[in-house]
Amino acid sequence: MKAPVISSWFGRGQVEAPPDIESAALRSDRFRLERESDWKRLEAILERMEKGGLRRIADDDLIALPTLYRTAASSLSVARETSLDAATLAYLEALVQRAWFQVYGPRQGFVRWLRGFLLGGWSRAVRALWLDICIALFVMVAGTIVGWLLVAQDEAWFYRLFPGSMGDPRQPGATREQLLESLGHDEGAAGLAGFAAQLFSNNSGVCILAFALGFAFGIPSLMLLVHNMALLGVLLWLFNGQGLVVELAAWLSVHGTTELFGILLSGAAGLHIGRAMAFPDKLPVLEAAAAAGRRSAAVMVGVVIMMVVAALLEAFPRQLVEDTGSRFLIGGTMLVFWLAYFILYRPAPRAGDAALPEAA
């Protein structure tokens, strides 16, 4: 580890004029003196780029950057064959590496990337995960059925799955009126925005967990999906007992189409990484994991956006709209919108976009 150079944090030091080329005794030092100004110019440009992005750099400098980079690179390869000046070699190696980080660095900042992401990158990433989405969907449906069957056989399962539900009206033995009331709306809009922000933090946390757990070959992701969906199955069973399943579905669909879709995608993203690590195909495991990780990370950014939408839907329309038909309409519209966006929206990738490798 190098000791931090404090002086480098406070402006640059005095720039000395290089000595006269003729005064150097060695050919390799004359070689260095002839090219030194180019290296220094490259260094100055790099410093400004590292500090504040591209905006503060003159057009001339920006155009010169690739040329200066290649000059420095070729200086380095010549110096390696002709010079024994360790300090110059170390300087050139560091300079070329710094320039390489800039010339071949991330091509776009976060904002530009996000724009390309919304305009096509997101749906491309989702489509690349189609197989994992199918598997995750199957697991989610299976989880719901398992939850239903478990409680149908033995009501004790209800309390095991909802351990803290004693005060909640939603439990076995509740009357139809109690259940119906729990689907009603709260008084007015007060407190709903705060509720939405809470929901959002909570739900996106769960989604990120489902994704990150995919690292263990995807199995914990699937277990998380099963657990969450079993709860849904239990809820469905409970309301079915009083013939309220349609009302519950409407109540859930307002935000559920978005939220469950998001959970589906995050589970699929986790599974995608796990699958790539368990069955890397022809690539080395590390490369397969990296390629899958990058594809799924893009999906995850989308999931966070979906969670924002879901939380807003959950807090406002679900609590304010009481009519079953309208609730279905909102939920259905969202579902159609997401499906259309992911499946039908296929703009050609622009040159500036980060190219996502297609899934094998």
């Binding site: 580890m1 190098k2 150079v5 480098s8 000395e16 290089p18 005064s23 150097a24 005794a25 060695l26 050919r27 030092d29 260095r32 003196l33 780029m49 590292e50 992005g53 690179a73 380095l76 064959e81 010079s83 024994l84 000046d85 360790a86 300090a87 110059t88 170390a90 300087y91 190696e93 070329v96 590496q97 390489w100 980080f101 071949y104 660095g105 991330p106 776009q108 976060f110 007060a190 407190g191 925005a193 809470q198 959002f200 994704f211 990150a212 690292f215 990484i273 590390l286 490369e287 994991a289 990296a290 899958a292 990780g293 990058r294 594809r295 799924s296 990370a297 995850m300 950014v301 980060a354």
Partner: protein, 313 residues
């Protein structure tokens, strides 16, 4: 690479890697030591933590003002205002937590404030281009590696303190935490789980200042002579063919960095080796002249494809 250019920054051979640029140039690169990475993470978490505390305090102060405006009558308090502050806090925490690492690592330095302070940065493994997806992936994984298990452990400790049974869960979470924490120790490139999934690694930030031109100063210059005696040192073929590149570069480092007093030992050693009678008081001029002439000879040989790694070859 490191065999040919034994540079102090890359002396730790186990961390040295070679990066091939698209131009086909091999560049030495050093994997960041784990101590720096731990230090960087601690600095970053501190910054986030104290930033959030300051923000939290500011919000309380504003809430206090809102409450004060109503003469401390809760019924007259604007609920919307308090709720707005609540949302602000929730969103700010979320954005800080994920945005802090994301935006900074996507920037041109590829490093957070903590990483910058210890002199490291992230890069794509094997010289590929660093993409936003990779940065996102490696930062999302950080949560399950460190923060979820830590928070779960904290919760379990609190639950256990209250006398409720925790069971095996504590050990499972500790094992999980330990597994991910020790992960970088068990692979060559010091990758953590997030680095594997993202295809990145953490490297030392290149930093080197251009040294002065040794052969243009003092007794090393073309017509250079000693300042003290006015004598020009001249070495013969036999005297210059004892040492190799390794000794030359050691001498270079001494000439650049060491004070005059420290040169006496090197001066004496070289004189003994080449059979000169060491004087005293003019060590720097002697060494400068010896350096320049040795380098001229070795570089001339080099142009004919003849290299001498050190005095033993």
């Amino acid at each position: 690479m490191s065999a040919r250019s034994p540079i102090a920054a890359h002396s730790d051979a186990r961390r040295a890697r070679t990066l091939i640029t698209p131009e086909g140039l091999a560049l030495p690169i050093a994997i960041a030591p784990l101590a720096s990475r731990a230090g960087a993470l601690i600095i970053d978490v501190m910054i986030i933590f104290f930033g959030l505390i300051v923000f939290q305090l500011a919000i309380y102060w504003i809430a206090d003002g809102v409450l004060g405006g109503t003469q401390f009558d809760p019924n007259r308090m604007s609920e919307a205002a308090i709720e707005f502050l609540g949302i602000l806090v929730a969103l700010f925490v979320f954005c800080t937590w994920y945005g802090y690492f994301l935006v900074q690592e996507l920037g041109p330095r590829g490093a957070t404030l903590g990483k910058r302070a210890v002199g490291i940065r992230i890069a794509a493994r094997g010289g590929a281009r660093l993409t936003p997806e990779a940065v996102i992936a490696r930062n999302l994984l950080r949560d399950i590696e460190i923060f979820y298990p830590l928070i779960t452990l904290l919760v379990l400790v609190i639950v256990g303190d209250r006398g409720e049974p925790v069971g095996m869960l504590g050990w499972v979470v500790t094992g999980w935490f330990g597994l991910f924490l020790l992960f970088p120790f068990f692979n060559r490139d010091r990758l953590r789980a997030g680095d594997i999934v993202a295809g990145t690694w953490v490297v030392e930030r290149p930093r080197a200042k251009l040294g002065s031109v040794l052969s243009a100063q003092g007794a090393a210059a073309a017509e250079g002579a000693s300042d003290v005696t006015g004598v020009r040192y001249d070495f013969g073929e036999a005297e210059l063919s004892i040492y190799g590149e390794k000794e030359l570069q050691t001498l270079e480092r001494m000439l650049r960095e060491s004070p005059d007093e420290a040169l006496a030992a090197a001066h004496a050693a070289i004189c003994r080796k080449i059979g000169w009678n060491p004087g005293a008081g003019d060590e720097r001029a002697f060494l400068e002249a010896f350096y320049a002439q040795l380098r001229a000879k070795l570089e001339a040989d080099m142009r004919f494809g003849k290299r001498k790694a050190d005095k033993f070859s």
